[in-house]
């Protein structure tokens, strides 16, 4: 029986297999391009095997790192405790001052109906388990998926700034495409004057962790260090999430628009934990 099977396998030439598989591959590329849902079962199945391993390797690496760090930190900690005790006293008096101001801010917010900031959306924490294997893209895998209630199109934040958007969700993992990726295009605005602009990722700038800003009106008042947030009119991103700060703003040759760069709030080279906002732009609009 085994011999017969062996003979049968030997009869098939690699060239034939290559020929057939080429067409199969092109077919699958076509199908998954137009119907990305068809790939989900396979992705989910493989995810259940590989993602726990990735998390495990991450944790082991983390333990080693943590141990070394602990020893180093201990000495630092002793020195800083003394300093901090003095600081605490100073801060206590500041807190009282801030509490008063905070009450005032709340009152003003109510007045302007600005209470819908993104801090109020429900979020779920996730850990980055793997990066994309290729340097052509800026994507990474997180260890939460549809099992945890995630959906495609949800926004991802970290350190109070926008990281990216979920572009693919499977059972226990999801792929985040970051805002510095070449394919990223975000409708944004300046926080001071709500002046619109477009923020797009660029492969050449990706290595520096910067993104491009363009199509801002020349009268928009955007200048060096202006705060840029996601706009109200974006289809994909919730409004008011901090993207970063404008840099090297120049007037375009047409004298009508401004362009420049944005330094993102998030440090993409050392992302570890992220927050996924559970409200998508579309859902959020409906429930309001």
């Amino acid at each position: 029986m085994g011999e017969k099977l062996r003979a049968l396998i030997l009869m098939i030439k690699p060239k034939t297999v290559l020929f057939v598989m080429t067409f199969v591959c092109i077919g699958v590329i076509g199908v998954t391009y137009f119907h990305s849902d068809t790939a989900v079962p396979l992705r989910t199945a493989v995810g259940y095997i590989v993602v726990p391993l990735q998390s495990g390797v991450n944790n082991i690496g983390g333990l080693g790192q943590a141990f070394l760090q602990k020893q180093m930190d201990l000495q630092d900690a002793r020195d800083t405790i003394a300093e901090q005790e003095q600081e605490i006293e100073a801060l206590k008096s500041q807190i009282e001052q801030y509490q008063e101001e905070n009450a005032e801010v709340k009152q003003l917010r109510k007045l302007f109906e600005l209470s819908q900031t993104y801090q109020e959306y429900g979020t779920v924490g996730a850990t980055v388990v793997a990066s994309d294997t290729s340097k052509w893209f800026s994507r990474f895998t997180i260890d939460k998926g549809s099992d945890d209630g995630l959906e495609e199109g949800m926004n991802v934040i970290a350190d109070g700034g926008l990281v990216g958007i979920l572009t693919q969700v499977s059972g226990n993992f999801s792929v985040v495409t970051s805002i510095i990726d070449n394919s990223s295009n975000i409708s944004a605005m300046s926080r001071e004057r709500n002046a619109l602009c477009v923020v797009s990722g660029d492969l050449e700038l990706m290595q520096e962790g910067r993104i491009r800003m363009s199509y801002a009106d020349v009268d928009s008042g955007i200048r060096e260090d202006s705060i840029i947030v996601t706009s109200n009119i974006s289809d994909l991103y919730l409004p008011g999430i901090l993207i970063g700060y404008a840099k090297d703003v120049t007037v375009d040759a047409n004298q009508l628009t401004l362009s420049g760069y944005i330094e993102p709030k998030v440090d993409f080279s050392s992302l570890k934990d992220v927050l996924v906002i559970l409200t998508t732009k579309q859902n959020g609009e409906v429930s309001k």
Binding site: M21, V28, T32, L42, D132, T133, F137, T141, V175
Partner: protein
């Protein structure tokens, strides 16, 4: 038959281990600007050492794994890795196992092929033509890393292959 299963098992394990190294471990090393493409090293090594059929199969599954976790279409990487495995398989008969120049050269060509494929289908068709800048920033660093990693990776795979071959010969003798 038993050897085929054993070999398949070993290759699957290697794919998994190399993938984890590539995406998790190398990513954590701060002074590296990227990760070497270890799955490519595996593909061309198996192709060189074991011929067209096995090279092709290994390449296909390496590529498929990348596809599954990259979030794009399926079989995009599988297609190019399959061809790399197949093309390297043609060179099997030319190869003297201990010679190191040929694997290095093959690795260089494979890596360039792979990068060109990603550039053409990911960027060129979107009319993004800053080729020189991309070459300097993305292709060169990965090329250097991968070729360096190939030295070690190829050696490890060579050793595993020789160990498996010895086991198979022993088994064959016993059988006869």
């Amino acid at each position: 038959m038993k050897h085929v299963i054993k070999r398949t098992g070993v290759t699957c394990l290697l794919i998994l281990v190399f993938y984890l190294l590539q995406t998790v471990v190398f990513d954590k090393i701060p002074f590296l600007s990227g990760a070497p493409n270890l799955l490519l090293v595996l593909t061309f090594s198996v192709g060189l050492l074991r011929g067209r059929g096995e090279g092709m199969a290994t390449g296909f599954f390496c590529g498929l794994l990348l596809d599954i976790f990259s979030g794009g279409v399926l079989c995009f990487y599988a297609l190019i890795y399959m061809y790399i495995g197949y093309l390297n398989g043609i060179l099997t008969n030319v190869l003297v196992h201990e010679m190191i120049i040929l694997p290095m050269l093959v690795c260089l060509v494979s890596e360039l092929l792979c990068q060109a494929y990603q550039y053409i289908f990911g960027f060129f068709i979107q009319n993004k033509l800053q080729f020189v800048a991309y070459f300097k920033q993305i292709v060169m660093p990965e090329l250097v890393l991968t070729v360096t990693a190939a030295l070690l990776g190829y050696y490890v795979i060579l050793q595993i292959n020789q160990a498996l071959e010895r086991a198979e010969q022993k088994g064959a003798k016993k059988f006869a």
